[in-house]
């Protein structure tokens, strides 16, 4: 299984490496933003905050896309049982992606001079809209790139009559990725209409397309890692995608509460986006089931750790934190504050970023032809990145709660003075956790770039814990379905506390100036949620790491019967 079955799978390597480079720079820009939050005059005039932020969000999107493309190219031949179609187009796609990244990083700087490159009524150099900062030139190249991806995927796949659910998920996913992008290609005069269509791209990408690609890829990675049956996993993928689309299509309404669109969206948005966590709970449950469908040890712990991190942070960041601010009555407070940053960072990096990293840890050692590698660096990097991101989410959430109170309840709007002064502790926590995260990223990039190139024979098998007796009690014992359910329940209890805290901003006492209740609820809810998340992942991975090693290469070794 260490061989690469299809030579064109190797084309995914360059996209994984590009992903790492972009991720590295994205983290760097994030650290710079944290520093500018503390000293707003830092690099002012040279790299203004808005430019650095545009680089940060755009590189975030591009590194996630590079990870998706890499993963799709790696699994495409396995799914289709044949080589990828048109390898030369994939090579072209890679260079186009590199060119568009460099072009876009440079054109964002023009925002400081107010040069958008207006021609034919369109901004060709940069657009100045959050998440859609790229100008038309880059937009069109990206559209061409997506079309190439669609062509390659659909030409590689078998005929539609032979598709399983994973083919359907990925096929529809890449098509929708391309179609939805088109809604961001027009300058719109009305602000409400512009926001309406901007969320077509942003919301439907994340909740309609990326999540579908995510579910399909998680499903297939589970098939690869655990030899799960493709039909069973495919059936779960079908349900996941159905739930995502049925809740997410109308769930987009939660972006239309306050942007100048009518009040009735508040009803539809509150109702349907409250259902959006359902597919995520389903996905969460399935990763538990699939990881436990046999009791074999995990051969590639970093790959599985990032996969688990992806599904768990999807649950916590997208599911629970998204749920807390999805009702019109809570969103009216969280909207436009740091509270949303907490959700955005966990959901975007957690769900999609970690998926690409998981796939890279699975695919890169295989493509370099190594059987075992030193997993310690990868595991350490996972924990640094995971705790760093949870810490960042905590800092954003606490800062955001204070911001809501000072800015909205007290009505103080001097950001350089009153507001940032009140948020100071949270603002200082951001670079602290940011540094933890960044160290993790540095390790990760180093590890994935050099796996198989640094004398691995000496460190072979290092970091793989070997035990011969299954743990029957304690932290490392088998994780049962009941226990996993209790952990999940614990997360949701804290999520409910957070929701009540946001809701309490409506109370007349709070509106009259008492911050006690919302601060108390946030002070319990956020740390509680993030600690439960941290401990759950620790527990899950410990239990897997304690699995009895049955060296596959020693087929003659006696099989150990795993005790329940």
């Amino acid at each position: 299984m260490i061989r690469i079955q299809y030579q064109t799978q190797r084309l995914s390597m360059r996209f994984f490496m590009l992903m790492l480079v972009l991720f590295f720079f994205q983290t760097g820009f994030g650290l710079l933003l944290a520093a500018q939050h503390i000293d707003p005059t830092l690099l002012s005039g040279l790299f203004n905050f808005n430019v650095v932020r545009a680089e940060h969000t755009n590189l975030g999107i591009l590194f996630i896309l590079a990870g998706f493309i890499g993963t799709i190219l790696f699994v495409g031949p396995l799914l289709s049982k044949r080589e990828l179609a048109a390898p030369w187009l994939i090579k072209f796609l890679f260079y186009a992606l590199v060119a568009v990244v460099i072009w876009n990083v440079l054109t964002q700087l023009l925002a400081q001079q107010g040069i958008a490159g207006w021609w034919l009524g369109q901004p060709w150099l940069h657009e100045g809209l959050e998440y859609l900062e790229a100008g038309r030139v880059a937009d069109i190249v990206i559209l061409v790139g997506f079309s190439i991806l669609c062509y390659v995927v659909l030409r590689t796949f078998p005929p539609v009559s032979e598709w399983n659910e994973i083919h359907w998920g990925l096929g529809l996913g890449v098509l929708a990725l391309t179609l939805v992008w088109i809604f961001g290609l027009f300058f719109i005069e009305r602000l409400d209409l512009q926001e309406y269509f901007r969320w077509y791209v942003v919301h439907y990408w994340v909740e309609g397309v990326w999540e579908v690609i995510h579910i399909s890829l998680v499903g297939f990675l589970v098939v690869l890692m655990f030899d799960a049956r493709i039909k069973t996993v495919g059936y779960a993928v079908f349900w996941g995608i159905s739930l995502v689309w049925l809740s997410g299509l109308l769930g987009n309404a939660h972006h239309y509460f306050w942007v100048g669109t009518p009040e009735f969206w508040q009803f539809w948005g509150s109702l349907f986006s409250a259902l959006e966590p359902l597919p995520l709970i389903f996905c969460f449950w399935h990763i538990y089931l699939d990881a436990h469908h046999d009791r074999k040890p995990i051969r590639n712990m970093p790959a599985f750790a990032f996969l688990l991190g992806s599904v768990v942070l999807e649950q916590v960041g997208a599911g629970i934190l998204g749920f807390t601010m999805t009702f019109a009555l809570t969103n009216v407070w969280s909207h436009g504050t740091w509270v949303t940053l907490s959700h955005a960072h966990l959901a975007l990096f957690g769900t999609f970023g970690m998926l690409g990293l998981s796939a890279a840890y699975y695919a890169v050692p295989r493509m370099r032809g190594i059987r075992d590698f030193d997993q310690r660096v990868g595991k350490l990097a996972f924990w640094l990145v995971f705790t760093g991101m949870l810490g960042l989410a905590f800092a954003f959430a606490i800062g955001g709660t204070i911001q809501v109170f000072v800015y909205r309840t007290l009505g103080l709007d001097w950001f350089g003075g009153d507001v940032s002064q009140a948020m100071q502790v949270a603002k200082l926590l951001v670079p602290v956790f940011g540094l933890v995260f960044a160290i993790g990223v540095g390790l990760l990039v180093y590890d994935l770039m050099t796996i198989g190139h640094r004398g691995h024979s000496a460190t072979m098998q290092r970091g793989v814990e070997v035990s011969t007796v299954p743990a029957t009690h304690g932290w490392r014992r088998l994780l049962t379905g009941w226990e996993a359910g209790i952990w999940l329940l614990g997360m949701w209890v804290f999520g409910a506390i957070i929701t009540l805290g946001l809701l309490s901003f409506n109370l007349s006492g709070v509106r009259a100036g008492s911050a006690f209740f919302p601060y108390l609820m946030a002070g319990i809810g956020y740390p509680g949620l993030f600690l439960v998340t941290l401990f759950f992942v620790w527990r899950f991975l410990s239990s897997l790491a304690a699995r009895v090693t049955v060296p596959a290469e020693h087929a003659s070794a006696p099989q150990v019967v795993v005790a329940q």
Partner: protein, 323 residues
């Protein structure tokens, strides 16, 4: 929702059912979307909003070109690094924005706002013509002047042109008129005086040189150029005129004194004391080529002769041919 081996899973039928339900959702979404943008729904549209000579669509292009939502938020979307701009126009009014935007790196003074209010078109947009009435109508402008006047802001100076500023104000006027369904919620307590709030202590204003309205120059320092420098800051000159030779909204002051300049009507003028006195008191009487009439307000009613002389002395101290 799992399918054990051997069970009939009927994926095809379920997939068709799911697509059917999805279609129903899509129909609901499309109907709601259509109802959101029909004309009978009264919502401000940028085509119909203008501020003096500028329209809001033009302003929206400026707003995007400078990526304003990369720091600010608009209808709550953006970067949370700086205040939401949706209702800013309604809160601070046009004269404050006119005074602030040319050099956003520092907060405008009372006089700087007053000077903008002298322009008839600005006064007309504001609906008031005295500074006191303006502050009563736009208390947020009064708060900004009182607390931050002449101090550095954390916003970078942007190279905004006169037209871009007008467009931006038009755009903010448009967003102020938008119905955003009650968002942002209106505070029910006065944060500045609320006992549990901890607003930054009111920054002590730069030592007040004089109260230009009263027209008395108190204890003029021995060096009139020093006084002029303070006055230039206090009365808003530096928002548009830099101390070096770079042109902003108006010509840079560095090296200006003693030079020859071509006027908009094609004639030549020599920049001396007389020229500068006229330029400050009645700027539209002589406009340098490349600049427009009506941009600079007349200072005749704001500054007395002694104060104008001090500012002229300051400009002279910034260098020029006759130095």
């Amino acid at each position: 929702m799992s399918c054990a081996p051997g069970e009939p899973c009927e994926e095809g039928r379920k997939r068709r059912t799911a697509i059917g339900v999805l279609g129903l959702m899509a129909v609901i979404f499309i109907v709601l979307s259509f109802a959101s943008f029909i004309d009978s729904r009264v919502q401000a549209i940028p085509d119909a909003v203008s501020y003096t000579d500028y329209d809001a669509v033009q302003g929206k292009r400026v707003f995007q070109a400078y990526n304003c939502m990369g720091c600010h938020t608009i209808v709550g979307n953006g970067a949370y690094f700086a205040p939401d701009l949706t209702k800013t126009y309604a809160h601070v009014g046009p004269a404050w924005l006119e005074a602030f935007l040319p050099s956003a790196g520092s907060w405008p003074t009372r006089t700087a706002v007053q000077v903008q209010l002298q322009k008839p078109e600005v006064a007309q947009e504001a609906g008031v013509d005295s500074i006191q009435a303006y502050f009563d109508k736009f208390p947020a402008a009064a708060e900004r002047v009182e607390r931050r006047s002449a101090h550095a802001s954390t916003m970078p100076d942007l190279p905004l042109s006169r037209d871009e500023i007008g467009g931006l104000i038009a755009f903010m006027k448009y967003t102020s008129e938008m119905d955003t369904e009650g968002w942002p919620p209106v505070p029910q307590v006065a944060g500045l005086t609320f006992p549990q709030a901890l607003p930054m202590p009111a920054a002590s204003a730069v030592e007040s040189v004089s109260s230009p309205a009263s027209g008395t120059v108190s204890a003029a320092p021995g060096n009139p150029a020093e006084l002029g420098k303070k006055l230039a800051l206090e009365t808003g000159c530096t928002a548009c005129h830099s101390a070096d030779s770079r042109a902003g909204i108006g010509p840079g002051w560095g090296g200006l004194f003693g030079s020859d300049v071509e006027l908009a009507d094609g004639s030549q003028a020599h920049i001396d004391e007389t020229y500068l006195h006229t330029a400050i008191n009645t700027p539209d009487a002589q406009v340098a080529a490349g600049f427009n009439k009506g941009v600079m307000p007349a200072y005749a009613n704001i500054l007395d002769a002694e104060q104008v002389a001090a500012i002229v002395a300051y400009i002279r101290s910034l260098g020029g041919l006759e130095q």
